[in-house]
Amino acid sequence: MKSLKLIVGGVIAATAALSTVAMAGDTVDSIKKKGYVQCGVNTALTGFSAPTSEGKWEGLDVELCQAIAAAILGDKTKTKYTPLTAAQRFTALQSKEVDVLTRNTTWTLSRDTKVGLNFVGVNFYDGQGFMVAKESGIDSAEGLDGATVCIEPGTTTELNLADYFRSKGMSFEPVVIESATEAVQTFFSGRCDVYTTDASGLASYRQTASNPDDFVVLPDIISKEPLGPAVRHGDEQFADIVRWTHIAMLEAEEKGITSANVDAVRKDSKDPSIQRMLGTTEGMGEALGLSEDWAYNIIKQVGNYGESYDRNVKAKLGLERGLNALWTNGGLMYPAPIR
C-alpha cells in the first residue's frame, strides 16, 4: 500500500511539474527572471562564434547576443551560449533549450513557416562557395563533375549543392559528417575533393588548416545565403526586441554613433531621431517593453554594427564589407526608422 501511495503521489507531482513547464510565460519574462539570455551559437566558426583559448565566446553572432542582453537586462555580460551543430539548432530552439539562435542560419521560406521559426533580420549577407586543394588545379565550380564533397547535414548548403549539380547535369558524391570540425578535418585529410559551405565559413575554416595556402576558395558563389537571428513562433514581443536590437546597431553606424562617443552624442545631439533612439526623448523603449536606455546600452557596451564587423569578421577573416556595407556605401544594410 505504501508503494501505491508513492506511485500515485509521483504521478501527481510529475503532472504538476509538467504543467508549469507547459504554461511557462513568454520569453522576455523568463529572461528577466533567470537573469540572462541563452543564445544558440555555432560550435566553432571564427569571426561569427568561436570560443577563445580562455573559453570566452567571440564573434559577430556572439556580439548580437550580447546586444540583446544589453537591451533587455542592461548588461551585455548576462549571456550564456549553447554551441549547436547545424542538425541540432532548430530542435534546440523549438524545445526552448535556447531563447534565440544567433548562429549564421539561412533565412528560407520553409524554416520561417513549417519549422516554426521567425527570422527577424539579416546580420550577414553570404553565399555558398567551394574550397579545393590547390594541387587539384581546379579553378571553377564547372570543373567539379564527379567530385567527392564534404558537407554538414541539415544545412541549406546540402540542398544547394544537390540543386547546383542537378542543374548543371553533373554528378557528385556527398560525404555527410555532422560535426563541422570533423567534416573540415576529413576534407583536409584528402577524403573529399571539395568542401562547401557559406563563403564566410570557407574563409574561417581555411585558416584552421595546417597550411592554409594548400587550399583555395573558388570564385563561384552558387546561392544566396541571408544569415540572421531567429526566434520561436508565437512570441511577437521578443521577436520585435531582437529585430530592433539589430536595427539599432545599424542605425548607430549610419548616424556615426560608436561605443566611444555615445555619451557625448546623447548629451549634445539635437537630432530628434538620435534623441528618440538614445531615450532622451521617451517612448521607443516603452513601445518595446524595455527601459528607455535600451539602445544606449547596446551601443555603449557592444558598439555599432560596423565596429562589431571590423572587430570580428574583418580583423579575423579579412573579409571586406561588400554586401554587408550600409546602403549609403553601396551595401544592403538598410535600417528601418526608429520612431
Binding site: 500500500m1 501505491l4 506511485i7 542538425a87 541539415g154 546540402e158 544537390a162 570533423e182 576529413t186 577524403r191
Partner: protein, 393 residues
C-alpha cells in the same frame, strides 16, 4: 438479512480483501500511466500547434533534394524523404548484418585461441580482448576513419594491391563481373542447389535413423550446389567481361566500392563486438564437462567430430542467449554511423528532421525501426535457441 451490521461487514470485507485491493491498485497505476501518456502527447501537439510547427507524416512524400553517397536501391535528390529513409534503413541493415557475421567469426576464432594451450596465442587473444573491449566504440570508429583517410594515398596515387584492386582514401575498389543474364541464372541455380542439398540432408538423416547407414550429405550437398552453379555458368556462355574501376578525373569510375565510412564502421563494430563474443564462446566451451570430451574420444570420434557433434551443441545452449544480446548491441551501435559520415537510418533521419523541422515524427520513425529490427533479431535467435535446446526424452 436487513441487519445493517451485516452490510457493513460485507463492505469492510471488500476493503480488506487482498484480491480487491490488488485490483484497485492495478487500475490506479494503469490509469495513471495512461493519463500521463495522454497528457504528454496532447500537450506536445498543443505546443507544436502554438508554435506553428508542421505535424504529421505527409512530409515523407515530399522531394528530399539532398544527395546520398551509398544506396542499395537507386536514389537521386528528386526522390522523396520516404525513399531516403528507406535507403538509410537498408544501409543500417547492411552494416549490421555484415558486422554480426564478421564479429561472430572473429569472436569464435579469438575465443578458441584464448583457451589454446599455446601460451603466446592465448596471450595475444587476451590482449586483443582487453584492448578492444575497453576503448569506447565511438572512439574506435573515429580512429579507423582517421586511419583510412590519413593512412591511404589519394586516388591518383592509389595502391594497386592486386590487378585492378585499388586502395585509396576513397575506399577499396575492386572489379566485379559486368552485367550479364548468366548471373541471374547462376543465382537461381544456387537457390535450387541449396534446396536440393536440404532435401538430401533430410533424406540422409531419415535413412540413418532407419538403417544406421551414414551418408556424406555435407560433402555431396556442397558438390550439388557448386556443380549446379558452374554448369549454369558454362551453359549461359561463360561470360568473362569484368567491370573494372578506372581513374577518371577526380575519382574511380566503375567496379564496386567499399567506402571509408562503411569500412571504418564495419571494422570498428566487428572488432568491438567480437571481444564480447570471444568471452561468450570461451565460457560456453568451458561449460561443457570435460568428461564429455573424454567419453567421445573413447568412443572413437575424431577431434573435429567431437567438437562438432559433442562439444559445440552443448556449448551453444549456453552461448545463444548472450550472443543474442550482443547482436542487438551491434545493431543499435550501428547508429554511431553519424560520427563517421556513413548514411545510416539515424544520419538520414537527422537530415530529414532538420530540413523539415519535424523532429518528433522523424525520431518516432527510427525508434520504431530499431525496435522492429531488435525484435526481429530476438525472434530469430529465440527460434534458434528453441531448436538447439535440450530435447528431453
Amino acid at each position: 438479512m436487513s441487519d445493517p451490521s451485516n452490510n457493513r461487514n460485507r463492505l469492510s470485507g471488500l476493503i480488506y480483501s487482498e484480491k480487491v485491493r490488488g485490483m484497485v491498485a492495478q487500475i490506479l497505476v494503469t490509469g495513471g500511466i495512461v493519463f500521463l501518456a495522454w497528457y504528454l502527447i496532447s500537450n506536445t501537439f498543443e505546443n507544436l500547434d502554438n508554435q506553428g510547427i508542421a505535424t504529421g507524416y505527409s512530409f515523407l512524400s515530399l522531394e528530399s533534394s539532398f544527395g546520398i553517397s551509398e544506396h542499395l536501391i537507386s536514389f537521386s535528390p528528386s526522390d522523396s524523404y520516404g525513399r531516403a529513409l528507406m535507403v538509410g534503413l537498408l544501409n543500417t541493415v547492411k552494416v549490421s548484418l555484415l558486422g554480426i557475421i564478421f564479429a561472430t567469426i572473429i569472436g569464435f576464432f579469438i575465443g578458441i585461441s584464448r583457451m589454446s594451450k599455446n601460451w603466446i596465442l592465448s596471450r595475444i587473444a587476451a590482449i586483443y580482448i582487453n584492448l578492444f573491449r575497453n576503448i569506447p566504440v565511438l572512439l574506435q570508429l573515429i580512429f579507423w576513419y582517421a586511419v583510412i583517410n590519413n593512412g591511404l594515398p589519394n586516388p591518383k596515387r592509389a595502391l594497386e594491391v592486386l590487378p585492378d584492386v585499388f586502395f585509396s582514401n576513397r575506399g577499396v575498389l575492386f572489379p566485379v563481373p559486368a552485367d550479364h543474364p548468366a548471373y541471374f541464372w547462376m543465382g537461381a541455380a544456387f537457390v535450387a542447389g541449396i534446396l536440393g542439398a536440404w532435401l538430401l540432408r533430410r533424406w540422409a538423416l531419415n535413412r540413418q535413423d532407419r538403417t544406421g547407414q551414414l551418408f556424406p550429405y555435407v560433402r555431396s550437398g556442397l558438390a550439388l550446389v557448386l556443380g549446379l552453379v558452374v554448369i549454369t555458368y558454362f551453359v549461359c556462355g561463360a561470360p568473362t567481361e569484368l567491370d573494372t574501376p578506372v581513374l577518371k578525373g577526380f575519382n574511380f569510375k566503375g567496379g564496386a566500392k567499399l567506402s571509408p565510412e562503411f569500412l571504418s564502421l564495419l571494422i570498428g563494430l566487428s572488432l568491438y563486438t567480437s571481444t564480447y563474443i570471444a568471452d561468450i564462446v570461451r565460457s560456453g566451451l568451458q561449460s561443457v564437462a570435460k568428461g564429455q570430451q573424454e567419453a567421445s574420444t573413447d568412443l572413437g570420434l575424431k577431434p573435429s567430430q567431437t567438437l562438432m557433434h559433442v562439444v559445440l551443441p552443448q556449448a551453444s545452449r549456453v552461448m545463444i542467449p548472450p550472443l543474442t544480446s550482443q547482436y542487438l548491441n551491434l545493431t543499435k551501435n550501428s547508429s554511431l554511423a553519424v560520427a563517421v559520415g556513413y548514411p545510416d537510418l539515424v544520419s538520414l533521419s537527422n537530415t530529414t528532421m532538420n530540413q523539415t523541422g519535424q523532429a518528433i515524427e522523424a525520431i518516432s520513425i527510427f525508434m520504431a525501426v530499431y525496435l522492429g529490427l531488435s525484435l526481429t533479431i530476438s525472434l530469430f535467435m529465440n527460434w534458434y535457441n528453441k531448436k538447439m535446446a535440450l530435447v528431453e526424452r
